[in-house]
């Protein structure tokens, strides 16, 4: 209790009966208790933070464009990142052209999403080749699939390493074959 009752001193004396003087102070403790209880409740339930979003702008599909009219990527610029199941990342530089014998077969390397993983690879590549074009291919084949989390993570890496050109595409059959031949999955 915040208030301590003062003992009346005239007890026992047979004096005149005086009208009891009421104190003008109110004990506010219960009110304060209630106010802070409500305060705590609202502080804990309130949600200030609006959800964060990550913007993803996909290229406009031109339906009239034929396959051979599409812009080709130079082999020196291309970096392919395959989001594999189990949070693994496969990547290779250059192009995978199994039908063209003049193009050497790229070698797939395996890394992960840690700071020393794909981020380091991308930054090193940026030093060697100023404007890489990154193709992100989530692995979806025979029931084995990458997770959506991996997709967000890799898009996040693109923002962190400040990549200019990247695209999210479906994994082509030739890349699945390449993974198969190198026995990675």
């Amino acid at each position: 209790m915040a208030e301590i009752q003062q003992q009346s001193k005239d007890s026992g004396k047979g004096g005149k009966k005086r009208a009891k003087k009421m104190s003008t102070k109110i004990d506010m403790t219960p009110m304060v208790d209630l106010a802070f209880l409500l305060l705590t409740f609202f502080m804990l339930t309130t949600t200030f933070a609006k959800p964060n979003v990550m913007q993803l702008t996909m290229p406009v599909k031109d339906k009239n464009l034929k396959d051979d009219e599409q812009t080709k990527i130079k082999a020196s610029q291309a970096v392919t990142i395959i989001l594999a199941p189990d949070n693994k990342v496969f990547y290779f530089f250059g192009l995978n052209e199994p039908t063209d014998p003049s193009v050497p077969k790229p070698e797939i390397k395996v890394t992960d999403f840690s700071a020393n993983g794909i981020r380091k690879v991308l930054l090193e590549r940026q030093h060697q080749q100023p404007e890489p074009i990154i193709l992100i291919e989530p692995y979806v084949y025979e029931g084995k699939e990458a997770k959506y989390k991996n997709m967000v993570d890799i898009l996040d890496e693109m923002n962190i390493t400040n990549q200019k050109k990247y695209a999210l595409i479906d994994i082509p059959k030739k890349d699945i074959d390449l993974i198969k031949t190198q026995k990675l999955l």
Partner: protein, 210 residues
């Protein structure tokens, strides 16, 4: 020399300023608080370093959970009512005014339009119990109701509020990429090329090894 008596102070203290402050804060929190709406499905979004914020209103949410289900949600009741009527007309399903009212109160839903009527007739508790078994909105190429909902909601929002819709894909971290990619592809077919992936905030790395 008389002894100086120490002045006896009363142990009572004036709590008025504290009470003032406490009630001021209570009022503030009461007015600003927004209770989390009762959503049909709860997902755990992945984290990213992006610090963009979603706008206050006109948000269309496509929720993708880890069981490959897609849920549709919109934050404005009149838009939802208009979309319900338009999509219902397309599939030959009509709804009673009570059902429309119920629909406008739900933050999101995930049932095919043919089952929507009976779903709306149930009360909130029954619906909550039903939610884990819901099939989600069909989004395959033969029966793509999801895209109809998106298009009708965008149309209704443009007609009613003259504002563009902010499309958010809210995916669970454990959802598979295929479902999200299918959703994105469906939207791209209809020339919707800008997406927002809802994420929770993560700190940007201070050193990126440059």
């Amino acid at each position: 020399m008389p002894k100086v008596k120490p002045h006896r102070t009363s142990p009572s203290l004036d709590m008025t300023p504290m009470v003032d402050l406490a009630f001021l804060l209570v009022t503030f929190f009461m007015l600003t608080t927004q209770f989390r709406p009762d959503e049909a499905v709860v997902v755990d979004p992945p984290s990213s370093t992006s610090d963009l914020h979603a706008p206050d209103s006109d948000i269309l949410t496509l929720t993708v959970d880890k069981n490959k289900r897609v849920f549709f949600g919109y934050d404005k009741a009149p838009v939802k009512e208009a979309a319900l009527k338009a999509v219902g007309a397309k599939y030959g399903v009509t709804f009673t005014p009570t059902q429309v009212k119920q629909f406008s109160l739900m933050p999101n839903f995930g049932v095919p339009i043919t089952q929507l009527g009976s779903y709306l007739d149930k009360d909130t508790e029954q619906r909550k119990a039903l939610n884990p078994t819901l099939p989600g909105i069909p989004y395959d190429s033969l029966n793509n109701q999801m895209i109809d909902w998106v298009i009708e909601a965008r149309k209704a929002n443009a007609a009613l509020f003259k504002k563009p819709t902010f499309l958010v894909i809210k995916g669970d971290g454990n959802a598979d990429v295929k479902t999200v990619q299918t959703v994105i592809k469906d939207l791209q077919e209809k020339d919707i090329n800008r997406f927002n992936l809802l994420t929770s905030l993560e700190m940007k790395p201070s050193y990126i090894g440059q």
